[in-house]
Symmetry: C2
């Protein structure tokens, strides 16, 4: 706890839609800890992929990835409730941006998803287009240096 | 057996290098069956991917894929000794040619490889370039129609 408190840690906390709609807040004790240590908290209400009709919302993942790519926010702790599907998809998209092969992206994803691997998650990562993020980070870099 | 014998079945039989180099032939009874039923047999001596130094030979897979894509050879039975790595890689390359997503290719591969999944196999399929096969089948189609 002490070690974490000394870092400018940013926690991106994904609430699923159910939890978001219900009055179930981020644990009070955690919020106190974050405030005490000047840690920013970003909430992205995301519902994970679930057959047959629920798709992870791509625009929200794009917003979360922007926060993730902004080095001013590092180091970052990303978590959802189980660390499988929502966190897995976001990290997979980050890896894609970092030019990892899909073989390696899926391997990392599977290590955390275990027996709960979802085809839809992998399909989401495969189809996720990172080209505009490359342009976005490039333009930000140019902005900083101009 | 009776049903198979009525089909113009082509078996592509992969021997691993060990088996290929040792005097261990395709079982006599199988050969008899194939001859009796006019079934062609193609042997491709392939050593499967194995960390750290053994890579599946891409040129042989390319030759095998050519046989596989030639509709005059259909229907085809493909098999190796366990139906995991060598057959898995060849079928994965076929699926890539058929424009399957990598998510689906890996999923099919994993169904047969089970607990014996190899990163190297998936990497091979991901890096396998099918663009020249598309040109090749296109030129053959033009040739047939000219």
């Amino acid at each position: 706890m002490e070690r974490i408190s000394q870092r400018s840690l940013l926690s991106i906390y994904f609430l699923d839609l159910l939890r978001y709609l219900c009055p179930e807040p981020y644990p009070e004790v955690n919020i106190e800890f974050l405030e005490k240590n000047g840690i920013k908290l970003f909430h992205f209400g995301i519902e994970g992929n679930k057959e047959p009709f629920v798709d992870i919302p791509e625009p929200v993942i794009r917003e979360a990835l922007k926060v993730l790519l902004d080095v001013r926010n590092h180091p970052i702790l990303i978590h959802c409730n189980k660390g499988k599907h929502r966190t897995g998809c976001l990290v997979g998209c980050l890896r894609k941006f970092q030019n990892w092969s899909l073989t390696s992206i899926f391997d990392e994803y599977r290590r955390f998803a275990g027996t709960k691997v979802r085809m839809l998650d992998q399909q989401f990562m495969e189809l996720f287009d990172v080209s505009d993020f490359k342009a976005w980070t490039y333009s930000r870099r140019r902005l900083r240096h101009s």
